[in-house]
Every structure is written in structure tokens, then in C-alpha cells.
Symmetry: C2
Subunit: 277 residues, 2 copies
């Protein structure tokens, strides 16, 4: 039995997992990739020493990243998924029949290969005719694209090379690449462990987008767990479900949609710097 | 710098913390006690190798354990706190002016001493005239007591010697010790990591109490994080706030009260064994 210690660079708690087997270990131009097998979580994808997903609980993250904006937007047809080489977010977006074009933009082709080999339940949608795979930097793609309805940023942690997806420049290009009802959603770390990053991202989005909001989901395998997702949009209120569609999800439902947004209480005050914690 | 590895016996993820200093290390008749200092969390109380609380985030647990039942009950006057030697739950109960008698029942007197020495912000209420400290087994105390409005079980993990507080016998004595509007609340571990325990406790409570419910709170320093609290009562709906009182809390508020109960969705189905996860 090998023990895997997560190298999460700014978590005050270190997480470690028993690895029954190491199924893959490699190095790409961008990052180290490892796939381990764990008795509870099944296969775990690890990039640069940080757990990206586990088979057991990936649906919390992928469903909640995807379906909030996809249900509040009235008719999402042109969608871009930036990052998320595992394919989990693409799988969720494709559940929406109205989607006509899905740009899947991943900088590291190796991650896609690994996902196809070890995580078929996530990468299952990658060959859908609506999907166009672009192996390139998401920030560059966004600069050359327009008329997007939805942009979903499914990146690695905000530090590291994904940082270009969390800058005012990127958010401004993202806004330009959208049509007049566009919405962007991105994960923004944990309010428990990375409060300053969450606040910084909310403030950055407010400089660019008229509508900015934040919602949360518990994800047991991300340090801090109480994970945040930030939305920037032009005019649609993400708390309103404007499109009721019969899609199959495990965790997401209309009630969770509404409950996942931060209340006016502790967390909201925290984000508005109205209290110190 | 010493690294502290938590000995949580049934968590699939091991948590570890940097200990700037070990402030106390001792052994009582019942358990090992350790107090460490951590840069992020401040002082951390550890019993039998398991983190019980940190100065940084203890208020999530103590407020949510206490104020749900204390706000749904119409007039809680006689309250028993079983366990919770640190005093955090007592501190929260005492915020309610209507409380006339608070039995504080802790089996391990050493924990109370350690709390008075190292955690004054938690143990501050222990000398309040309404508090009667009983150093004894909570199950024994409950058998000899009656006319309680509220029983709050603030125990260590369900395994180990606290197990006597999570049996059908205990819940039956608890019901006998209450008056006809009584309510009991107890933590019941994490739905992410200890699903079977949560379900077992809910089913046990349903054998004894007419009204059984479950709510959750994110607690970053308890493995699994998505922590559950189970309620057993005679007739009061814990989702209804029957008493509005101006008390000072950091996390709990009326909106969080209502949002913390499990929805009809994923988690509720999980508890009702309507889906497999």
C-alpha cells in the first residue's frame, strides 16, 4: 500500500490517500500526471500532485459547475469549456439537447488521452459530433471566438499556469467573446481555506460583468471542501431557472440550484469584506 | 515544526496539520488529550488523536449544534448538554435568556480543566449560575432526569466510548427524560465519509421519536466536512423558527436555519436508501 500525500500548496490541512495501485505516472510539457486507485474513491486523477477528481465524487463538481448556468440561460447553443481535459464537464453540457456547438479547449492533450484511457465514464462525450476539441491555451481561444452563450472554465487551481484564466484580461476577452446574454462560470477555490482568492475573483469579475454571483457545493476531496463557483454575466440572474429541461443528474436539482447560492449571512458578509474571519 | 496526523479511524482521507507547538499532552482515565497550536486554526483540541475543535472554526459546529433546536422550541428552559467538555455548546445555549437550568454532563473532568486553561473563549460560560456541572456518564444522567426541554449530545465520534450515547436504549431514556415538547439533537458524522452511520442513526431515532430530521453544516476540520446533525422530537418541527430572539452569532442565522435541512434531492434519497452511492 502506497500513501499519496497531496501537494496542495496553500491548504492548511494536508490530505493523504491510500493508493492501492498507481495506474499511471507521467510528465507532460505542462504538468505531472498521476492516476491512482483508491478503495473508497475509485480512480483518482492527480495533476502536479493535486487531486483533480475521483470517480466516486466527481459528479458533485461537474454537475454543479455546469448546470447552474445551463439552467439559468434561456437557450444555450454555443458553449465553450476551457480546461477540464477529463471530459466531465463536456459530458454534463451535452445532456442539454439545445446545445449545437461545444468548443472543448484543453491546453494539455495528454490529459485528454489519459481520460480516454482511464476515465471513460467522464470522457464519454468527447466524440459527440457537437464537440470540437481545441488543444490550445484557453485565453488565446477566447480572444479569437465570438457569439458564445456560455463559457465554463474548468481549470486546475488558480495558482500555477492556469492563472491566465483568472485575470482581468481574460475576463474582458471572455465578455467580448459572448453574445449579449452570455454567462461565464468558473470554480474559485474554497471559502474556508482560500477566502482571499474567492474575494479577489469576485472583485475582479465585478470590474468586468454587470451580473456577478457566487454559489457553493461541498466536495469532500478538495481541501477546504466548501467549494465556490463564481459567475459573471451580462443580464441573466443565475438564481433564476429560466429553462426547465428533463436531464438526468445525480446531485444537481432545481432545489439545490437555489440553495447553493450564498445567503445574505456569514459567507456573503465575508465576500463583501463586512466581517473578518 | 511537528506534523500531526489525525487518527480518524474510518475516514478514507487522512488529514494532517502543522503543529507550531504542542501546548499540552496528557492521558486521562478515558482518553488521550492533546492541545496543539497551528498558524491557521489557532489552538486545536485533540482527543484520542482526533481533532475535536479549532479556535478558528469551532463556531460553525457549536452554533449549528445548538441554535437550530433552541430556535424551533417555543420556550426552552431546562436544557442538558451531554459531552462537549470544552464548553462551546454551553456558551451557545446560555445566549438564550429564557434558559433557567443547564445541566452540563461531561464524563471526563480533565477535558473541562484543559478547556478552562487553554480555551477560555469556549469555557467562558461554565461558571454561569444557571449551569450545573455533572461529571458522569451522560446515559446514566439521562436515566435519572426528567422534564427536560432540550437535550444536546455533543460527544466525540460515534465509535469509541461515546457509543453508549448512540444506542436505542439511550434515545429511549432521552425521550423519557423530556417533557411533552422535548427535542434531542446530536451530531451524526459526515454524509460523504460515514453515510452508513448517518443512515443507521436516522433509522434508530425513527424507532423512538415521532419527529426525526437531519440538517448539515460544512466543517472544514472534520473529515468528510459535510457534517450532519440529527434531531429527534415529540411534536415540534425543527425547520420552523418558533421563537425569534436577538442573540449574537457568527454563522447561524434564520436563513441558514432553513437552508441547512436536507432537500428532497440527492442527500435525502441517500438517507432513505432510495439511491446507491
Amino acid at each position: 500500500m502506497i500513501k499519496f500525500f497531496e501537494k496542495e500548496p496553500y491548504s492548511p490541512v494536508e490530505y493523504s490517500y491510500e493508493a492501492e495501485r498507481i495506474l499511471y505516472k507521467g510528465k507532460t510539457k505542462y504538468q505531472d500526471i498521476m492516476v491512482i486507485e483508491n478503495n473508497t474513491f475509485g480512480k483518482i486523477l492527480i495533476l502536479d500532485g493535486i487531486v483533480q477528481l475521483t470517480e466516486k465524487d466527481e459528479f458533485f463538481y461537474h454537475e454543479m459547475l455546469t448546470h447552474i448556468v445551463m439552467h439559468s440561460h434561456h437557450a444555450p447553443k454555443r458553449v465553450a469549456v476551457i480546461g477540464g481535459g477529463d471530459g466531465g464537464t463536456v459530458r454534463e453540457v451535452l445532456k442539454h439537447q439545445g446545445v449545437e456547438k461545444l468548443y472543448f479547449v484543453e491546453i494539455d492533450e495528454e490529459v485528454i488521452k489519459i481520460a480516454r484511457e482511464f476515465f471513460p465514464s467522464l470522457s464519454s462525450g468527447l466524440d459527440d459530433p457537437r464537440v470540437q476539441i481545441k488543444v490550445m491555451d484557453g485565453a488565446e481561444f477566447i480572444k479569437r471566438t465570438d457569439d458564445l452563450d456560455i463559457i465554463i472554465v474548468d481549470s486546475t487551481d488558480i495558482i500555477g499556469f492556469a492563472r491566465t484564466l483568472f485575470t482581468i484580461d481574460f475576463f474582458q476577452s471572455a465578455k467580448k467573446s459572448m453574445n449579449n446574454r452570455g454567462m461565464l462560470v468558473t470554480h474559485t477555490e474554497s471559502l474556508h481555506f482560500h477566502k482571499e482568492i474567492v474575494i479577489e475573483m469576485q472583485e475582479m469579475l465585478k470590474k468586468v460583468f454587470p451580473v456577478v454571483d457566487l454559489y457553493t457545493t461541498p466536495i469532500a476531496t478538495y481541501p477546504g471542501n466548501w467549494w465556490t463557483f463564481s459567475i459573471g454575466g451580462t443580464d441573466i440572474d443565475p438564481r433564476t431557472i429560466n429553462r426547465h429541461c428533463e436531464i438526468k443528474t445525480r446531485y444537481y436539482d432545481s432545489e439545490i440550484h437555489l440553495q447553493s447560492f450564498l445567503t445574505k449571512g456569514f459567507y456573503r458578509k465575508l465576500i463583501n469584506r463586512e466581517l473578518d474571519w
